[in-house]
Amino acid sequence: MSDKKSFSPSRRTFLTASAAAGGALASGQLVHAQAATPDPLITEAQPWRQYLGAGVDAAPYGMPSPYESEVVRRTVPWLTADLVSSINFTPLHELDGIITPNGICFERHHGGAAEIDPADHRLMINGLVDTPMVFTMEDIMRFPRENHVYFLECAANTGMEWAGAQLNGCQFTHGMIHNVEYTGVPLRLLLEEAGVQTNGRWLLAEGADAAGMTRSIPMEKALDDCLVAFKMNGEALRVEQGYPLRLVVPGWEGNMWIKWLRRLEVGDEPWHHREETSKYTDLLEDGDARRFTWVMDAKSVITNPSPQAPILHGPGPTVLTGIAWSGRGTIPRVDVTLDGGRNWHQARMSGPSLDKSMHRFYYEFDWDGSPLLLQSRAIDSTGYVQPTKEQLREFRGENSIYHNNGIQTWFVNENGEAENVEVG
């Protein structure tokens, strides 16, 4: 890409500069780099300084700079049989802060992304209720609303890594996640409108898509913090995220966040449908499987440096950053190690710390140019410490597919290139 090439000269400049800076650091005094010749980007007039830019209506709905064209969702074709019942990945290595932009939130469909005119959308509540009901989108928009930031992590995130290091990049190993601000109606208010009967202990949520996605949700969770959401990051849900209506199930596996939500049925027993028997059950080493593994445990990953985001600037001041999250609460602390877990340092948390939301951490250090084995370890507000992959395998074996929240290791070599590895 031309934009990458334009960075090449400055990368060489950085390398020269940092060699000088490294020497200065060793002697304990800060000496900034000197340019050999004047920079033409400064001494020569540039077109963006001379000619007028685009007018205000050039892009009624704006897109990122063309120089950010690599910040896109990517898929791994060999993972699934086709691209309709499939997955793609959020480019975590290109992002900062905690909010995922709507256009690059990962997608997971089982029957493709249904395109529904909101005027044609209906939400039905039936089963063990006083009055089975039908709501239009207009009805739903008249209920009291709430705003919450939550992570949505696919139960299969990092699932390809159960048996060992496989995909080279945090986008692929950890990118089945996004974190957005949802606006929606508490599910409780809609259920109360229909009147849940006393034996109504379970809720079946069903999508309007071709997969007819269904999941059973215990009534306790439904009445606690679930939302029926119609907005994400301030605007309507994207089509691929369930427009016009999706279920928000904070802290719980993404499969339960039914998109294109069309029906809620109250019952006295779970339904044991395909997505909670054949799929989203976790096979253990002895051949038995856990069912209803809803909550996503504390997890973290270093997003920079990482295989898709190598260190290009050479030795010297280096920003290590990453994300952490827990389905059980907030993340008050993340530890990082540069030597594969031998010694740990407490990272610096920055930004909002919200319940069941992504958190951002930083660790700034002076890289001396020697190889690194980077790891991060999240500790959530319940005291749960993110386990190693080896600890997970001791309890579960290698065939669980889902719920892999093990500690990730990146090997960084002398050139700053990073690789997905396992250590022992």
């Binding site: 080279n168 028997t277 499987a289 856990r290």
Partner: protein, 197 residues
């Protein structure tokens, strides 16, 4: 709407509930009335299903394998099928009727659904080839892995073990070694425009 509520929405009509509420539970609640035999199911399966799932449920390419694999759940590479893994027959009826064939959902009649499911049961050696599956014989079928599942027990088995102050310094015996590398497998998609020069 309910008294004391917001007065929003309207009562659902019985025809509307019937049109959308046809989910099936393990106890048979929600089963459509109908029946189908193994031989009819085989013909339907070849017409509607085999292009993805193979003539005998063995699957084409990466499409799901539907038959076989019994006794493999403890293997290094388990084959999880209707016969080897699924706990309930209701799930098969519900899912086929609701979501299959892929790309033509809601096109099967209850009789066709029962026939296809009967054939799938036969492929998995769960029923003989003269079996007729219906909303009534449904209760006679027991799935091989019905007892293979248990409720999430992470809180009891794992969380306590991992809820303690972690080690911060000199946590390993000496230096840490790399035991596995993703670049050896080399299965990550190339990034367009990646400039490694």
């Amino acid at each position: 709407s309910r008294e004391g509520g917001f007065g929003l929405g309207r009562a659902a009509l019985p025809e509307e509930v019937a049109a959308w509420d046809w989910d099936v539970r393990p106890d048979g609640t929600g089963l459509p009335v109908g029946e189908g035999d193994v031989w009819t199911g085989e013909e339907l399966f070849v017409d509607y299903c085999s292009a993805c799932h193979g003539d005998f449920g063995e699957a084409v390419g990466r499409w799901p394998v539907l038959a076989g694999g019994q006794g493999t759940l403890t293997h290094e590479d388990p084959t999880k099928t209707i016969g080897s893994y699924w706990p309930y027959l209701s799930t098969v009826v519900d899912y086929v009727y609701r979501a299959m064939p892929y790309g033509q959902a809601e096109s099967l009649t209850p009789d066709e659904t029962y026939a296809i499911v009967a054939y799938l049961l036969n492929l998995n050696n769960v029923v003989d080839d003269d079996f007729v599956l219906s909303n009534e014989t449904f209760h006679d079928v027991e799935m091989p892995n019905a007892g293979g599942f248990f409720m999430d027990d992470r809180d009891e088995t794992e969380v306590a073990a991992w809820t303690r102050e972690p080690c911060m310094t000199d946590c390993t015996d000496g230096a840490v070694e790399i035991t596995m590398r993703a670049t050896v497998l080399d299965v990550t998609p190339d990034e367009e425009g990646d400039d490694t020069a």
